[in-house]
Amino acid sequence: MDKKHPPTGSTMVEKILAARAGQEKVKPGELVNVTVDLALGNDVTAPVAIKEFSRFALDQVFDPDKIVLVPDHFTPNKDIASAEQAMVVRRFAEKYSINNYFEIGRMGIEHALLPEQGLVWPGAVIIGADSHTCTYGALGAFATGVGSTDLAAAMATGEAWFKVPPTLQFIFSGTLPEWVSGKDLILHTIGQIGVDGARYKAMEFTGPVIDNLSMDGRLTMCNMAIEAGGKCGYVQPDGITFQYLEGRVTKLYQSVYSDSDVEYEKVFHFDISNLEPQIAFPPSPDNVRPVSEAGNIKIDQVVIGSCTNGRIEDLRIAARVLQNKKVHPRVRLIVFPATQHIYRQAIEEGLISIFVEAEAAISTPTCGPCLGGHMGILARGEKALSTTNRNFVGRMGHPESEVYLCNPAVAAASAVVGRIVHPREVV
């Protein structure tokens, strides 16, 4: 690097935050107050936010069209207490005329739903009282998870404060091998840098592999930035982004790009031409090894779905593996299309038939099993292989149960064999 002329450029995130803070430029570490385009809550986090919001004694929110409420965690309600939480959210939406309230039957898991509904665009600032809000960086937005009190404050003011994050750049080169997907790229990344490797930082995903990666794959990658501790993950807008946005986003937006002379905190180069499907062993998403080194792990349950891997591309690849096969008699396979729209698409494409013929259980969209809420809780000593995002102690049920994370092809193939395998053992 030229010491006399240090880079003066800004990253995509720095530019978005500077614009919203009304400044020409911001630097990592600086605290800024910014306006938000969307503030999101779900049936677990919004009730706490609504309680805090009531302390302002306001008869309106800052902008009813910029608040999104999605009851997706414990819905369809799993018990009386969660039904009452969902009712709190529903009544708040009615009282404050929140149009972007998505009831079951019309909804989806929030982070699959918002991009699909055209509520995310390049350059947007989005906060959500859910850690996986970072998903929307796949569309060139600045999006990050916050808590319920932050959501309450944003519902009142339309603003949030942030420390400008330093940025890590991840350059993926080579050719994506068969059966390897965005999930494997992000698991590999987390395995390399650890669960706090990007703590407080922005993660910029780039390089020829990302240039050719589908939007569903990019959403999966950005979704799991939080699993490395990241404040946000993002891919800069390109042709794939604009194609995805066509017909979804009608408002005018301005795409923002990192300058070429940016001082990244660190740059990582990953050549992935020989990357195998990755498995994160319990109890941490950074406990990653290639599937060939998984050993003989017998599984009791397989989950395909979630905000990480419940999109149409995920279901297509799972169906490709499961076509004319049966789930192993000892294994329970549960498939969760991430939104109602994806569910219908999967019916129209014949994917649901393939799953039913394979003897999988199909569920309406819900976060349920991913966080050990409902719809697939594990007993003591059971092992699950899952396309979800976390494998902490007790994440999917009993504290002595285990969760292994993988991509949808590995999940489908392993459901057939009854132990963790590479998809080519089945197809």
């Binding site: 932050d150 404050a153 003011t157 809420g373 102690v393």
Partner: protein, 165 residues
């Protein structure tokens, strides 16, 4: 403000699922949440913890989910302060926002022993003292904006004061 209490030691990367498992998120009452604090990694903890106790943890405390129920459960159990080598960012925000005292202390606290040591914490000075051994540790000071948030008792009160202007 000066706090003093018994300590409970936890390791690195204590996630919010460990602090409060999702199966308890159908309530947000701090007392109900406190009854299950750290249950999955330390089953006896909810019965042992007493008001005024201090949690001492390693790196990346509170990683994972954004659930504000995690600091609410800690506060509900009467924990007076959480000291960690570092905090996950959403947990850090949440703790400041709801007025749970936290201190980021990069010093090596591995000399401390659960069941033996107590700590005295000066929240304003960021000074942590072990009265038994006399060892003194320093926490990283909060930036002025966050000091104001803490001083006003959390984000809601801070925003209220701004809305009134």
């Amino acid at each position: 403000m000066i706090l003093e209490g018994r300590i409970w030691i936890f390791g690195d990367n204590i996630d919010t699922d460990a602090i409060i498992a999702a199966r308890y998120l159908n309530t947000s009452e701090p007392q109900e949440l406190a009854a299950h604090l750290m249950e999955d990694i330390h089953p006896e903890f909810p019965g042992l913890v007493e008001p005024g106790d201090i949690i001492v943890a390693g790196q990346n405390f509170g990683c994972g989910s954004s659930r504000e129920h995690a600091p609410l459960a800690i506060k509900g159990a009467g924990i007076s302060c959480v000291i960690a080598r570092s905090f996950a960012r959403i947990f850090y925000r949440n703790a400041i926002n709801i007025g749970l005292p936290i201190l980021e202390c990069p010093d090596d606290l591995s000399m401390l022993q659960e069941g033996r040591d107590r700590l005295q914490v000066d929240l304003d000075e960021g000074k942590i003292t072990a009265p038994g051994s006399g060892l003194v540790y320093r926490a990283i000071p909060f930036p002025p904006f966050m000091q104001e948030l803490i001083g006003r008792g959390g984000l809601i009160e801070y925003v209220k004061s701004r809305l009134q202007k």
